[in-house]
């Protein structure tokens, strides 16, 4: 009997521990919707003929569910006239949100931490020059000029668009350094000059 008494005291003293534990259990059944986090779903290049404002072409890359999951739903080829100059604006969107979040605005605000880099390859004859700059006078690359050359032969023409997040490491003079920072965007658009 005495043993039983002692045992029950033992159990009783352990009880507070079990009951004292509960908390954040309700949150488990209410997960966050990942789509609430920031995502670049869409990269748009809006290219306007500098001689004719009515002649525009927009190339889009769109991957609504971000990295992994489904493949990109839109991946356009850049089709531009040969021997023409275009004023180009880059728009980054998060279309997983309503309303749609324009991420390129944030890049503009944080111009001193970001830079776009462009390079053409595979026979795509495009000369690229920057039209904008951050507070230090270093390009950001949201606005650029494309000067196209001769008609593309073959199907391997590419334009690489890279956005680097360089933080405090972004140079304060010169035209920037593509080797610095983390890549937020890197897309190889197929190019066709006609």
């Amino acid at each position: 009997m005495k043993t039983l008494l002692k045992l029950s005291i033992l159990f009783a003293s352990l009880l507070p521990v079990i009951t004292s534990c509960k908390k954040d259990d309700d949150e488990v059944t209410k997960p966050r919707n990942i789509n609430e986090s920031e995502l670049i779903t869409t990269v748009k290049l809006v290219m306007v003929d500098s001689a004719n404002a009515n002649s525009t072409y927009t190339a889009v890359f769109k991957d609504e569910d971000g990295e992994g999951g489904n493949a990109p739903s839109i991946f356009d080829t850049i089709r531009l006239a040969a021997n023409t100059t275009y004023n180009v604006e880059v728009i980054l969107l998060d279309e997983s949100k309503t309303p749609v979040d324009t991420i390129s605005k944030e890049v503009e605000e944080e111009g001193k931490e970001h830079q776009f880099f462009y390079s053409a390859s595979g026979g795509a004859d495009i000369h690229i020059s920057y039209l904008d700059a951050d507070d230090n006078g270093v390009p950001v690359g949201l606005k650029v000029k494309f000067r196209t050359g001769s008609v593309t032969s073959g199907k391997n023409g590419k334009l690489k668009v890279v956005l680097k997040h360089q933080g405090e490491n972004k140079p304060v003079t010169g035209l920037g350094d593509p080797s610095i920072g983390d890549t937020d965007v890197e897309i190889d658009f197929p190019v066709l000059l006609y």
């Binding site: 043993t3 954040d24 488990v28 059944t29 991957d63 990295e67 990109p72 937020d184």
Partner: protein
């Protein structure tokens, strides 16, 4: 070059049988027996595991669970008998044998510890309990790891490695098996954090431990799910049994990171209430950027603050104990390892030096991890007169892990973390161990685990919210008579898990159920007083972890898309090991061969597709806004791990001890015959230790030199990794230490230098080997000041 070392190793191996033979020579018919009991001077309790040894003739016995021992076949004569147990003062007495003798040895605790043990501390006390392979770090050998993280501390044990992410994050690897497959028990409670991540280190303050035990091989029956590769037991010192106050202060200085650690433990047992005992313990660690031989590793500093308390009440029949620990760490992640996309990764790999370097700084900046882990436990036991002991324990753990990316999300207004996991785990255990009767001892137990996890932060994460319930029952029975020990156990477990997550803006709640039987059979056989053989078969299982089921996204540090598979089955391991222990005076040797079949072994396999143009399989890239990434999927294969571990110590003279250890392992996918990734390469260490003569003021002074060799990992599949395994490397280490007596107050001081030559090297198991060399020369200064004051009991 590599073969040369292999030859040396084999040479040392060959010495082993010679010693066995040499030892057999002096057998003469002696018939007397020395038996007796070993008890604790303060509590009068028996001391199982105490070693009673007869000097000069190298006969010894280990006290059994009731403290009893027997030494057979003694000739008539005078003998010097030593009785020792870790944590107690050595007792030496002279015994005249002219007939069978019985002695009672009373040991008194020794807070300043004792006995310099090379690599492996006293093993005998636990061999009694396990037929499995067990290694223990305690006493001086544990002291020599102070200041290191848990994963790094156990690397000295043969067959144990660590997967690291830079200089501060280590995850233990036992016989090639890692991650969720290694169970860590913190003071009897299974550690439940976010162990699925390779860059998630165990949330334990190693200063808490008085003893770190490594059990190699599948141990599912005793410890439940996940113990496929083995178990790490972290145990703090037993609470004080006699009234008084004691404790210790540990200080460590680390040159490489200009860091330091300080830890204080204080135990108190009041004289007024007998049986009541308390402890408080706390640790502070701080380090700045570590450095490789040629450059600093930017943002590799860390901060850690830990605290624990313990209280116990012990009576003859029952005991109650409460334990609480809090672990808090901020660990910087090496900046140059944070990669935006595959092009960045390729650039980083192509560069000989990290693309981001810095000077020295203590600042822990982005990217970093902030982890808090809290453990509360209450446990009690009751000793029934006839039957045995009933143990009950309840524990609650709360783990809060926040990971901060290199850059904060640009739409985040404050300094939010990108991902945050909060996991709460409740465990309840009941266990009944019956007293030894007719050579049988054993236990029957049950365990319940409730777990709930929530995921937060601003970015996509690998694991969803989930809630799980798991339960298991087990029964283990042991039989020991004379030279032979047998053990068998069986266990049944069930687990139910429900996940809560959004998929395309719809809440889904998949449910999983897992159930499994595991079993083990083991035996130990004493060939003679010096050689003991162990043969063990064990099984264990592991349900797929949440990340393996649900991952779908970009792993930034690794520059790859990782995809889970919701159809994964439970992993099951069948482990066989055979080992021989040899112990003769100061000579100690151990050889283990093992084979671990893991069916449905889950690993991250690269997705490949058939390229009709070249007729070969090429990596399957996934196109994203950040560029193309290789895609990896959690895949199940039948694997087999086969290997051997070897350790050997010998005293060449009274002053010189040599030691060596090496491990070989081969891990193969049985379906294809190809080798698995992230498996430790062959590694070996040789050392020599010189013990000086000592004076009253300076005890146990020593100097040791060792040399670590890690061979290049061969036969890895090229397309499964971004970079070829690093070449073979050799590191030289030096150690020196002594116990200084200042007015009878002992002070342990040691100085250790690792990578003395400041060599450049990269380790295959270091995930940051793509970006930087391993750390350069590091000098650690360790000081330990124990203190003890007993109250006069009334």
């Amino acid at each position: 070059m590599q073969y040369k070392y292999l030859v040396i190793s084999i040479g040392i191996l060959l010495q082993l049988p010679l010693l066995l033979v040499a030892q057999k020579v002096d057998v003469e018919p002696c018939t007397y027996k020395l038996s007796g009991v070993v008890i604790d001077g303060e509590s009068n309790q028996p001391l199982p595991g105490a070693v009673v040894g007869v000097r000069d003739i190298a006969k010894a016995a280990v006290a059994d669970t009731s403290g009893k021992f027997e030494i057979m076949h003694l000739c008539a004569g005078d003998y010097v008998v030593e009785c020792r147990l870790l944590g107690y003062k050595v007792l030496i007495s002279t015994i005249r044998i002219s007939e069978d003798a019985y002695r009672k040895f009373i040991l008194h605790s020794d807070t300043c510890m004792m006995e310099s043990v090379v690599i492996i501390a006293e093993r005998n006390d636990i061999e009694k309990e396990y037929t499995q392979l067990v290694f223990e770090l305690s006493g001086k050998s544990l002291d020599l790891t102070r200041g290191l993280s848990l994963g790094e501390s156990v690397k000295k044990i043969p067959g144990v490695n660590a997967i690291q992410s830079g200089p501060t994050i280590f995850k233990p690897v036992i016989q090639g098996v890692y991650g969720n497959r290694i169970l860590i028990m913190n003071n009897g409670v299974r550690l439940e954090g976010q162990q699925w991540g390779v860059e998630h280190a165990p949330e334990i303050d190693p200063f808490l431990a008085n003893k770190i035990t490594v059990i190699k091989g599948a141990s599912g029956v005793r410890y439940g799910a996940d113990a496929i590769g083995g178990v790490l037991l972290i145990d703090s010192k037993d609470l004080r049994k006699s009234p008084g106050i004691d404790g210790e202060v540990n200080l460590v200085g680390i040159s490489n990171s200009r860091g330091g650690a300080g830890s204080v433990r204080m135990d108190y047992a009041p004289a007024q209430i007998k049986g009541l005992s308390f402890r408080i313990q706390g640790t502070v660690k701080r380090a700045g950027n570590f450095s490789a031989p040629d450059y600093f590793l930017k943002n590799t500093g860390y901060k850690e603050q830990n605290f624990s308390w313990q209280a116990g009440y012990q009576k003859k029949k029952f005991g109650l104990e409460a334990f609480y620990s809090l672990y808090n760490s901020d660990a910087g992640i090496f900046s140059a390892s944070h990669i935006g996309n595959l092009t960045d990764l390729k650039n980083a790999i192509a560069s000989d030096v990290p693309l981001e370097t810095s000077g020295f700084s203590y600042k822990v900046a982005r990217p970093y991890q902030k982890v808090a882990h809290e453990l509360s436990k209450v446990q009690g036991h009751y000793k029934f007169n006839k039957w045995g002991t009933l143990n009950l324990s309840f524990a609650r753990q709360y783990n809060n892990r926040a990971e901060f990316d290199k850059h904060k999300s640009s739409n985040a207004s404050n300094d939010e973390s990108q991902v945050r996991f909060k996991i709460t785990t409740h465990t309840a255990n009941v266990n009944f161990a019956h007293y030894t009767a007719r050579n049988f001892s054993g236990e029957l137990g049950a365990e319940v685990i409730l777990q709930s996890n929530t995921t937060g932060g601003t970015a996509k994460s690998f694991i969803p919210n989930f809630r799980s319930y798991a339960g298991g029952i087990y029964f283990i029975e042991k039989w020991k008579k004379e030279r032979l020990g047998l053990e068998a156990g069986i266990r049944y477990d069930q687990k139910r898990m429900k996940a809560f997550m959004y998929e395309n803006n719809v809440l889904v709640t998949p449910v999983y159920r897992f159930s499994n039987f595991s079993g083990s059979v083991g035996s130990s056989y004493d060939l003679n007083e010096n050689v003991k053989l162990h043969l063990n078969f064990g099984s264990a299982y592991r349900p797929p972890s949440v990340n393996e089921l649900f991952s779908d996204g970009l792993h930034h540090g690794a520059a790859r898309i990782e995809k889970g598979d919701r159809g994964l089955r439970t992993e099951v391991a069948y482990n066989t090991s055979l080992s021989a222990h040899y112990h003769y005076g100061k000579v100690f040797g151990e050889l283990t061969v093992y084979n671990n079949f893991i069916n449905d072994y889950i690993y991250l396999a690269p997705s490949v597709k058939y390229d009709a143009g070249t007729g070969a399989y090429v990596p399957d890239y996934v196109l994203t806004v950040r560029g193309a990434f290789p895609s990896f999927t959690y895949t199940q294969v039948n694997a087999v791990f086969t290997g051997m571990d070897f350790a050997f110590n010998d005293s060449l003279s009274r002053n010189i001890i040599i030691n060596s250890r090496f491990s070989l392992l081969r891990a193969v996918n049985r379906n294809t015959g190809t080798h698995l990734v992230l498996i430790p390469p062959a590694n070996m260490e040789y050392g020599i230790k010189y013990l000086f003569h000592y004076s009253e003021k300076l005890k146990d002074p020593f100097i040791a030199f060792s040399h670590l060799l890690v061979l290049k990992k061969e036969k890895v599949l090229e397309y499964e990794d971004f970079k070829e395994p690093p070449p073979t490397y050799i590191l030289f280490n030096l150690e020196a230490g002594a116990t200084l007596y200042v007015n009878k107050q002992p002070i342990d001081i040691s100085l250790a230098a690792t990578n003395v030559l400041n060599s450049r090297y990269r380790d295959y198991l270091d995930r940051f080997r793509y970006f930087s060399d391993g750390i350069g020369r590091n000098i650690l200064l360790r000081v330990k000041i124990p203190f003890n004051h007993s109250f006069k009991s009334k």
